[in-house]
């Protein structure tokens, strides 16, 4: 950015007359109508005119000289000098140097620590960096929570990591102060552990809910009854109504995952009818004699594609 004095080619103490005469000379040379087609001349003419408008106005020139406005006439923000920041806590910690004053008080003087107290000086107080790790845990450990010992790469003692109940795949657990050490007494960073939850053969998480399939016998399906059903925190008794088909889904309220804000999701148990392991002659004989079984068509409604 060029100062209006430089633009007009006059010194800072130029009189109004000097300024007018400099402007006239340049204006004659640069006026766009006298330089058709020269884009550069137009820009310079504009700059010269703006500089003249500023410097020919005594009040504006004074403001410019005091730095209150810039060469475009826009007000400039008042400059904040370093001394305004130097005594603030944050800056003081970084730049301030009090190493030179320990001679104000001998070591056995009660003021010695006051004068020799470390401040920022040449070495910055800086919090240590966070370190990222990842870890795989079982589905049930994640669902119910557990405590586990981990040792972070790079050595150091084993750390106890608390997996809170309802920990989700992809969640990050924070071990405060277990990252890289800080500098000059600043706190250490945190260890951030990305949790991967291993899939479970039975349970599948679906948001806060858990979905899974539970086999039932033919008699349980036809007659209903009480069955033991596993959940993520132990088996429970569930009553299934008579005539429960494969695919019927029972909701076990509150048997899902811990929600982050409190409470639990639900478990959705999908029933699946399973025939006896080995063929049963009595069952075969009954079905043979069961007339309705032969007329029933479970595939009707599937059109001609069945």
């Amino acid at each position: 950015m060029t100062s209006p004095y430089e633009t007009l080619g006059v010194s800072r103490d130029a009189t109004l007359k000097d300024i007018q005469s400099a402007y006239r000379k340049l204006a004659k040379k640069l006026h766009p109508d006298l330089n058709p087609g020269d884009k550069g001349a137009e820009d310079r003419f504009k700059a010269v005119s703006a500089a003249y408008a500023l410097l020919s106005d005594e009040e504006k020139r004074g403001k410019y000289d005091r730095g209150e406005i810039d060469e475009t006439g826009a007000e400039t923000a008042p400059r904040h000098y370093y001394r305004e920041y130097a005594s603030s806590g944050d800056t003081a910690g970084r730049y301030e140097n009090a190493h030179g004053f320990s001679d104000f008080a001998d070591a056995d003087d009660i003021f010695s620590s006051f004068f020799s107290r470390r401040s920022g000086g040449q070495q910055q107080r800086r919090r240590g960096r966070d370190q990222h790790f990842s870890m795989e845990i079982g589905f049930l450990d994640a669902a119910n929570g557990t405590k586990t010992e981990i040792s972070l790469p790079g050595g150091g003692p084993a750390l106890e990591l608390t997996i809170p109940p309802g920990t989700r795949d992809g969640q990050t657990l924070r071990l405060r102060g277990k990252g890289e050490p800080g500098f000059n007494g600043a706190p250490a960073g945190d260890a951030l552990i990305d949790i991967r939850v291993r899939p479970h053969p039975l349970f599948t998480a679906d948001g806060d809910d858990v979905r899974y399939e539970v086999p039932i016998s033919l008699s349980e399906a036809v007659l209903g009854g009480k069955i033991r059903v596993p959940t993520i925190d132990g088996a429970v008794n569930v009553t299934i109504p008579p005539h429960s088909n494969t695919g019927k889904t029972l909701r076990l309220k509150g048997k899902g995952l811990h929600k982050p804000g409190g409470g639990h999701g639900d478990a959705y148990v999908s029933l699946k009818i399973v025939l006896p392991q080995t063929p049963d002659p009595a069952l075969s004989a009954f079905v043979e004699s069961w007339a309705a079984g032969k007329t029933e068509d479970p595939r009707k409604g599937m059109g001609g594609h069945a």
């Binding site: 000098y81 370093y82 920041y85 130097a86 800056t91 003081a92 730049y95 301030e96 140097n97 009090a98």
Partner: protein, 104 residues
Amino acid sequence: MNDREFCEHLDIEAKVLRIWVEQRWLMPREAEAGWLFEEADLARARLIQDLTGPMGVNDNGVDVAMRLLDQIHGLRSRLAELMDAIRSQEPEVQRLILSRVEGE
């Protein structure tokens, strides 16, 4: 602000900023993405510009000036703390301290 914005504010080249930081005239915070500067660093950099520019101080001179300045600010803050402590004493104690420092 990051180092690019900082350089733009001051109209300096990245090379110059690197030297200032290497000399520890500026001590930006170090983030993952690089240096982070605050308003205080900007004000400090303008002081360095004033020293090297209009005042004609060379690099060695800036080094001495900044070190002394940092000591002065260290001293000022100790003195301010000491004054706060004295002002919190009984008026009689304050008078006694005053009479001692005035050499009575």
